[in-house]
Structure formats: structure tokens, C-alpha cells
Amino acid sequence: MIPLLDRRLLFVTGKGGVGKTTVAAALALFASEHGRRTLVCESDARGDIAAYFETGPTGFSARELLPDLWAMSMNTEASLREYLRLSLRIPVIGRIGPLAKAFDFVATAAPGVREVLIVGKFCYEVRERHYDLVVVDASATGHIVGQLSAPQTINELVKVGLIRSQTGWMLDILSDPARTGLVAVTTPEEMPVNETMELAARVKEETTVELASVVVNRVLPELFGRTEEEIFEQLCHKELTAELGRLAGGDARTVLEAARLAVTLRRTRAGHLERLRSGIDAKVPMLYLPFLFTRFHGLRTIRQVARSLGEELGF
């Protein structure tokens, strides 16, 4: 498979709450620190990317946050405006109000139109070679397939017209594994793992985009090996626990109980990890990121995750 950072366009997706934005931000940061002029795009204007990089709000025009790292937020209205200006040469100044409303309406009625504008903007940045790498903090797993297959959908629905003629080059970029890849973020829990396996199947069937990697986030540390576990079991015996407490100057039961919880949590997740590995095409690389026992989310967290990602990518 083509190495992740040698591609030009990466869509990062994942079930809500698994750390999709964190991974997208860390991936972009890591690439920018390794010689790639990188653009990180937020596909809805929620402002998460800005918050993670601890910077002011990002807009439709890309802004340089750190050396070689640029960020933007998708805005369909601005994208439509740019598209009209570039492809149709329609001056839209002053008319965008009612136009946006009309567009909104058509987009609600005709599935794929909005998605094409979003995906089209990302593809456009790749085609124009403004950046070495475009990382998209994309829609959640529930919607990503619709978004990535939108150019095809439009191709099937719209027989003629400008939108159709525009989807051809987008499909070229999206279908080319040397340029485009999908990164699925998950956690080793039941539902995220199920959803990732379903996503892998749907992406293969319904889109032309290649699944480039699965990132498993929040992998809990393994506390003990086998012999160490036997020692732990001995420590949990009443007399020994009491002795340990006496030596350590307090009740040791709570601490041991917490360790048992940590072992159990890790073990439940290990089963899901195995299920995931066997359910995903063996060619697709899996990257593992450790659970972070930190206080807050922010640039510090992103840097930590970027470092772990770098190790997993073999840098």
C-alpha cells in the first residue's frame, strides 16, 4: 500500500467521540513537521480544529497556524461562491443572499449537490497543487460514504450540465490511491469496531476511495505480563494486602482494586481489537495510539498524539 503521507488527500472519519478531529489535527501537524506543506480542513464550521490548535477561529480562506500548517473551515455557501467565480465567471457580489437560499433548497431536494461542493473544494486544492497534503476532518462514519460517493451519485442523476462536467476530474482524484485515501479512526470498543468494519465494507462497495489506514485510538496500556499477573493475584490475598498496606502507610485495597479495573478494561478492549484486525483486509495498516491520561485537550495533546502517530508510521 502507498504510505499514508505520500498521498495528497486524506479523509479522516470515525464514529462520534472516538477522536476523529484529534487524529486529523495530529496527522496534519506531523506531516507539516516532516516537510509537507499541509492544509487541514474542517468539513463543518464547528471550530474544533481551531480549539485544538488553541488559535482563533478558522474560515473558508486558509490561514497558516504553524510553519507549513494551514487550516480552513468548510462553508458551502463560500464554496459555491468560489465555484461560480472560478468555473462560471458569474460575478455574484450582492446576489449571494437569495442565491444561497435557492441553493440550499436545491441541495435539500437533490442529494449529492452539497456534498459535491464540499468534496470538490478539497479536490480542487489537490488539483491546483496548493499543498503537498490536504487532511480533511471529514464527516462521521454515518455520512462519509454519501459524501465520498456524491460525485458518482451526481453523475448518475444529472445527465448534462456544469455540475456533471465538474465531477469527472473529482472522480479521477478520488479514485487514485496514489493521491487519495480514507483514514478510519476507531476505539477498541464494541460499537466503534462494528461501525469501522461496516464502513470498510461500504467504502469498498459504494465508493472509489481506498481505505488507507485504520487508526485505533485510546488503546489502554497493558499492566502485567503472565508471571506479573500471578504476583498481582498473590498481592490481592487478604494477608498480603494488609502487609502491603502496613508497609506503604495506608489501606492498599483501593489501589489494588483500581489495578484490577484497569486490567479488566484493557482485556475487554483486547477482544474488540482482535475482532477488528480479523475483520479488516490484512493489507490495510492499523496504527495504534495510546490512551492519554491527561487533563485537557489542546495543542499539547495534539503534539503527543502526533508523536505516537509518527512512531507508528515508522518515522
Partner: protein, 395 residues
């Protein structure tokens, strides 16, 4: 009212009052927090302890949970969970538990069949490529159809209590606004612009700029496809708009209450709070907040933290002293285990403290506030559901 001490609302509340007094309980919140499981557990415990007929309407249950409820491959139909499933799990049910899954496509087709004025219109709509796209892929259609199905089942009056799981949405509010948006959509002036010219071929001045742009972007053929679809749909506008309004009324009715489910992780909690506020803004009833996967309180015990620090920092010394008491243990290994146990506690303590802080800052004043601890295993069978249900009940 919630009990609010200096450390925020009491997290040991119960859903029993809510489940006993409402006809519809809508379970909502961010994705990945155990919404579906919580809805199923609430319904199961209500059926077991309250009696009557209880239905859980789920959207996307995990495979094992779907199996446990007997939902595999049954589409839209409601199915009774057999009493034997309760007795196998060590429960004697007072009432009956039913489960159903939401099949968006099937529900849309049923809706069309219900509203279509005649067989020909119905067949033409069902065959229309735009309709097939909208019913299958149009994201908001899931939200709308979930609320629509709820309305229909409630109107039939078969169940004493319906617990509804909500679809994972990009925006937590989508499904609340879906009926309203659907009504807006069908009564829109733009829609009339779109449809009228293809009948009368008269383009008025107001709609002209819209056509020019739309024509250039989408092409005339596509526009006329859209128009044809809406002309077919027009015969059903009245029914749709009326229905959407009724759904809206039902959600605001006092027989309906909402439960917001979240975890104490930063992102889900922020979304959960946003949701609770949105319910208040719409004057919908926030019955409870359920926090899942809460780390146990003992992780914040200061005495334990002192012991953990000792274990981490003086592991070698402690291992030397302990080793004579142990069977066949290597001092270096004992040292590693002690250090590991100590640092693991301190690691989890950081997370537990952050979560406790967030819990105490939780906004909103639900009637009940329930926190559910981490379970050893995932909840995937009725026994697991009852265990979770018991916690929700306040046992």
C-alpha cells in the same frame, strides 16, 4: 427538581418516576455513549417492574444486542421479547417487552403508500430515481422518519410506554427540527417556483434569477427531474405538512419526556450539554441526564493516592520487604508490579478527577440525574440490560 448540593446535582437519581408517568421517552445525546443500550435497558426494566406493554424502538443496535432482542432481519415489525428470555436472565416480568428496529427505506415507502391519492401516483413516486435517493441517502430523512414512526405507533395506542432511541445525527438537534423542516420544505415558496413553470411555463420575475443560476449549475434536465418529482409529491403536501405538525405537537406534549445520555469525556459532554439546553429552548421536557461509563469514586480517594505514590516511588524497597511473604516471587518482578499498580492508579486518578469536575459543572436541571459505572463487560444480552436497568432504576 434535581438535588443540587455544592458539588452539583445528586448523581444517584432514578428513572423510575419518569418511566412510570410518561407515554414516550426519547433517548438522545451524542454518538458513541451507549444511547441504544440505555434505551433498551430502560425499556427492559420498565417492562419487568411496571407491567403493561413496553416498546423499545431502536435505530442501530449493535449486532449482539439486536440478537438478544431478537431483532435480526425483521425490518420494521415489532416483535415481543419472549418471557423465557426474562426468566433465563433471572427476572420475572410484570409486563411485556417489545422491540422494533427502524428501517428508513421501508418506513418512507409505507408513508408514501399512506399519503398517495391513488395507486398510479404511488407507483410513480416509488419508482422515481430522486425519491429513491432521498429515501435512501438523504440524511435528514432518517431523522424525520424516526419521529414519524414514533407518531404512528403512539397513535395506534398499543403500548403503555414507548422508549425511542434516536439516530446518530451530525447535529444533535436535527431530529428535533426534522418535522418542522419537512413542513417548511413542502410549503416553501421556492418549491412552488420550481414546480409551477413546468406546468404553466410561465417564469415570473421573482423566480427568474433562481432559474438562471440553477440552470447553469444543474442543467435543465435535472431541474425538470426535480420538478416532476415534486409535482408527483404535490398531491401529498397537505398530508405531509399536517403530519409533521402533529409529530411536533406530540414531542412537546407532556406525555413525552427526553433523556440525554452522555459520558464524562470532554467532547460528548459538551454535545450533551448543548442538547440539554436545546431542549429547554424548545420547551421540551428534559426528564433525566444519564452519564455512562463513569469511573468509580474510589479513584479519587486521597488516602489511596498516597499509597499509590508510595508504591510507585518506593517499589524497590517495598518489594524487598514483601518478598519473604510471597511464594516463588522474584524481587525485580514484584517491584515492577508494585510500581505498575501505583502509577496505574495515579493515571486513572487524573481522568477520574477531570470527570468529577466536569460532572459538578453540568448545567441543566433534569428531574433525575443518573450516573452509571463502567461495567466489566459490554452490555449485549438481557442479563446485561437488567444490570444496567437496575442502575437506571436507582437500585
Amino acid at each position: 427538581m434535581a438535588h443540587r448540593g455544592p458539588r452539583g446535582p445528586d448523581p444517584n437519581g432514578s428513572l423510575s418516576g419518569l418511566l412510570a408517568s410518561r407515554e414516550i421517552v426519547v433517548v438522545c445525546g451524542p454518538g458513541g455513549v451507549g444511547k441504544t443500550t440505555t434505551a433498551a435497558a430502560a425499556a427492559a426494566v420498565a417492562a419487568a417492574r411496571l407491567g403493561g406493554k413496553v416498546l423499545v424502538l431502536t435505530v442501530d443496535p449493535a449486532r449482539r444486542l439486536a440478537d438478544a432482542l431478537g431483532l435480526r432481519g425483521i425490518g420494521n415489525r415489532e416483535r415481543r421479547v419472549p418471557d423465557s428470555a426474562f426468566t433465563d436472565a433471572g427476572m420475572k416480568p410484570m409486563g411485556e417487552l417489545y422491540a422494533a428496529m427502524l428501517d428508513t427505506k421501508e418506513s418512507w415507502d409505507a408513508l408514501i403508500s399512506h399519503h398517495a391519492p391513488d395507486v398510479r401516483t404511488r407507483e410513480e413516486i416509488l419508482a422515481n430515481p430522486l425519491y429513491r435517493n432521498i429515501s435512501g441517502r438523504f440524511v435528514q430523512s432518517h431523522d424525520y422518519i424516526a419521529m414519524e414512526r414514533l407518531f404512528e405507533i403512539h397513535a395506534e395506542g398499543t403500548y403503555d410506554l414507548i422508549v425511542v432511541d434516536t439516530p446518530p445525527t451530525r447535529n444533535a438537534l436535527d431530529f428535533l427540527d426534522a418535522p418542522e423542516r419537512m413542513a417548511d420544505f413542502f410549503s416553501s415558496r421556492l418549491l412552488r417556483w420550481l414546480v409551477v413553470p413546468y406546468r404553466s411555463r410561465i417564469v415570473n420575475i421573482a423566480s427568474k434569477p433562481f432559474y438562471q443560476v440553477a440552470d447553469r449549475i444543474l442543467g435543465t434536465q435535472f431541474l425538470s427531474d426535480i420538478a416532476e418529482f415534486f409535482i408527483l409529491f404535490q398531491s401529498m403536501y397537505e398530508g405531509f405538512v399536517e403530519r409533521a405538525r402533529s409529530v411536533q405537537r406530540l414531542l412537546a406534549d407532556r406525555r413525552t419526556s427526553f433523556i440525554v445520555v452522555s459520558t464524562l469525556e470532554v467532547v460528548p459532554l459538551r454535545e450533551g450539554e448543548f442538547f440539554a439546553r436545546a431542549l429547554a429552548d424548545r420547551q421540551l421536557h428534559l426528564g433525566a441526564i444519564v452519564l455512562n461509563k463513569v469511573l468509580p469514586g474510589y479513584l479519587r480517594d486521597p488516602m489511596a493516592a498516597t499509597v499509590a505514590e508510595r508504591l510507585r516511588d518506593a517499589a524497590g524497597q517495598l518489594a524487598d520487604q514483601l518478598c519473604p511473604w510471597m511464594e516463588g516471587a522474584d524481587v525485580a518482578q514484584v517491584e515492577r508490579v508494585l510500581a505498575e499498580v501505583g502509577s496505574s492508579y495515579l493515571d486513572y486518578r487524573v481522568v477520574a478527577q477531570r470527570e468529577a469536575e466536569q460532572q459538578s459543572e453540568l448545567a441543566g436541571a433534569p428531574e433525575a440525574f443518573v450516573s452509571v459505572p463502567y461495567f466489566d463487560t459490554d452490555v449485549y444480552d438481557l442479563e446485561g440490560l437488567f444490570r444496567l436497568g437496575a442502575r437506571l432504576w436507582g437500585d
